[in-house]
Amino acid sequence: MDLYLILQVLWWVLLGVLFVGLGTMVGMDMGVGTLLRFIGKTDTERRTMLNAIGPHWDGNQVWFILGGGAIFAAYPLIYATSFSGLYVVILLLLWSMIVRPLGFEYRSKMPSPAWRNAWDWTLLLSGALPMIIFGAAMGNMLMGVPFHFEWNLRSIYTGSFITLFNPFSVLAGLLSLSLSVYMGGVMMMGRAPEPIAGRARAAASYAALAAIVLFAVLGVWVSMVNGYKIVSFPGAGVPQTPLQQTVELVPGGWLSNYKSYPILWAVPLLGFAGLFFGWMSVRAGKHTLAWWLGAVSWIGVIGTIGVAMFPFLMPSSSNPSQSLTLWNSISSETTLLWMTGWTVVFVPLIFWYTSWAFYVMRGKVDPREVEADPHAY
């Protein structure tokens, strides 16, 4: 088999790994942010929650930053077209993300309740909004985005930003939000004392049920919309641009990969199973197991979208033939090869020291210690 083709498929899988990493790790902290004012009733409870993720939020957030960098490096045309096309939404995402580090670091530096309340709302917004936008962006990819290219691959977006908030995408955003609330709730079950842990357990349990319903509704919806199908293109593993293919719309087309390879139904099933057993473990109070099952659900959900769309990544609703696929938006062989090398060396290292950091900080946070510590958040 051709090396370039192998690298292309590998980087398609790695894109999925990146989204799962982003969903589980960043999503977990975002979920804590979303829940901050609901399961943390007093200032001390909120500080306890923030300090429970305090040692980790910065490291986790790098999944998000790495996400941007890796898409830039591996799929330059996706990075360029999606970030500029979804302009207003991406800026809202960015702005809600950049107030977050300040929220953690600055919130408890002043005793004033008004100051702390303002940062609490900031943290809530910067927890919920990015997850909604992350899901909504995925939803828009399934629905197709109105853009086309000029002869030199300058991308032109022709929709308004309101169209990005179509009902399907908003539901997808809510799915992503509920998964993140689930992860955040499970995290608080393990790291926060009562009564926070009990409230977190209730929140995680509701979030799991909401995610199951939303995932099912979105699944049915997707089966009824138009999917995209490549009619002709230069071929997989061949350097090309999106100007050289023909694509047609097929009703229910996003199910064709599942119909061709029924074994792939296992992927959405994995999502449902992860959520269902996750819900059971939350009920049973087994937070570590529930966390890992949450990660499994993320793999199932991201995987379901990936399998449905393969090889499409960003279909164009206004000019389907110029849709971006894995084959026409990926980097050159040299770049992919080098990036693979760096990934093979550093990703295991990242997993190792992240686990070490979680191990060092294991156990429940003691609110008295938080109050006593001038360095705490």
């Binding site: 077209t81 970030f83 960015l94």
Partner: protein, 545 residues
Amino acid sequence: MIDTLVVDLSRWQFASTALYHFLFVPLTLGISFMIAAMETVYVTTGKTIYRDMTQFWGKLFLINFVLGVATGLTMEFEFGTNWSFYSGFVGDIFGAPLAIEGLMAFFMESTMIGMMVFGWKRLSKGQHLLVTYLVAIGSNLSALWILVANGFMQDPQGAAFNPVTMRMELTNFGALIFSHDAQAKFVHTSIAGYVTAAIFVAGVSAWYMMRNRHMELARRSFRMAALFGVLSTAGVITLGDALGFVGGHAQPSKLAAMEAMWQTEQAPAPFNVVAWPSQSEQKNIWSIQVPYVLTPLLTHTMTQVVPGIDQIEADATTRIKNGIPAVEALKALSKDPKDAAAMAQFKAHEKDLGYGFLVTRYAPDQDVSKATDADIAKAAKDTIPQVNVIFWTFRIMVGLGLLMLAYFIYATMLSISGKLEQPQNRWFLKFAPWMIPVPFLACEMGWVVAEVGRQPWTVFGMLPTWMSASSHSVGYMIFSLVGFVSLYSIFIAVEMFLMVKAIKQGPEQHGTPSTPVIPQSRKPQPSFGGGFAPNPAAPMSAHKE
């Protein structure tokens, strides 16, 4: 059609968000190593004053660090949101260092910073020291990869344009990362960060010494900063010279603008110490020159001719004419990648493709095949960046660098001879805090020289800035500008407020200071902090809602 106003607004937005981000980065780069050095002394000697120093400067470091992280996110997004043509055109090369920065440096730095803040009680002394070093190394490695990416924009090494995929692609990874421009710039920039941190630490310490507060901590921090500062400032000046030397070969237009050299002169050429350059008249209205100095300064020889602006423009005219057929051939290839005649034409002219792009903005209907000689002349004039801006920002940067060198030499002498606290030297303690803005200004000036000097290109000689921006409406640009201005104004106000508050509050007071400290007019703080030190006596403000 490309709207020039959108391009200009995108440029202003990028410049201001980058300059803003660069207010926080240099301090992070330097102070992280100073903290690691302080902690090293603590771990090796066991003197608790060094632990106090580590924690106090660590607190200020964090207030600064989060804004560096937050505003850095903007930069990573902005290539895609506002410079999407650029991103698609060079992402194959430019994206790699950004991704590797995340994998190798930023992940480690960010994970370890959590351990550094929260790990005091949970890690052994040695482990904590290691964590602190990893933070410092991580932040500096971040700078390395970002400057490798920037080095590519300044001097595109290790890449070639591929007409089949319509973009530049990586051909040689080694050439990309070991580009002389990237390497010289990394060392120059990171050491500039060390200078910034040294001035900051020295200034804050002097402020305490003036008020006779925290004398043990301030004295030691000042001496450390002074020594660190002398070495770093000497380094930054040496490396700046190397960068000028390297950059001069890659970008003669930047060099000519830095020196306001309108005409090519015989070697050894005179050096303009100060001048008032006029872009429209293509000459210096007035100048003070030193004969023979420029050539050895820039080329490190007496005989090599440095090209002036007249010659650079003439060369550009030739290259634009040669580049137009390359653009036309590329257009044909876009319709049919198998068009052999077009491919042959492209191959014959490809080295001047970027210059062909350059005339697009002046050609009728933005179609290069219709370009007249007048259009080509305009495009050729564009290859010279704004001379007065670069000439002066460069001189301000160098002047501030020399001022800081003198400051550090004097500070080191005073500190080592023990005369710093004598009454006749109180003026110096008063003066030192006023030096704090100087390195920040110098860093910003350096950025302007590098990036305005690169114009009219985003990737030098390959991709004009004018083509690189996204095709947005003016309304979108105003929307984002308003958002950034509001958020960033709040950020800087909050940051300065907390920083000043933390400095005024001073370090935590610990059990038994090694020398008596002047009593403070504030409540005692809980003992040795960090981690989750159980201390029920601590009077923290635990308000309940």
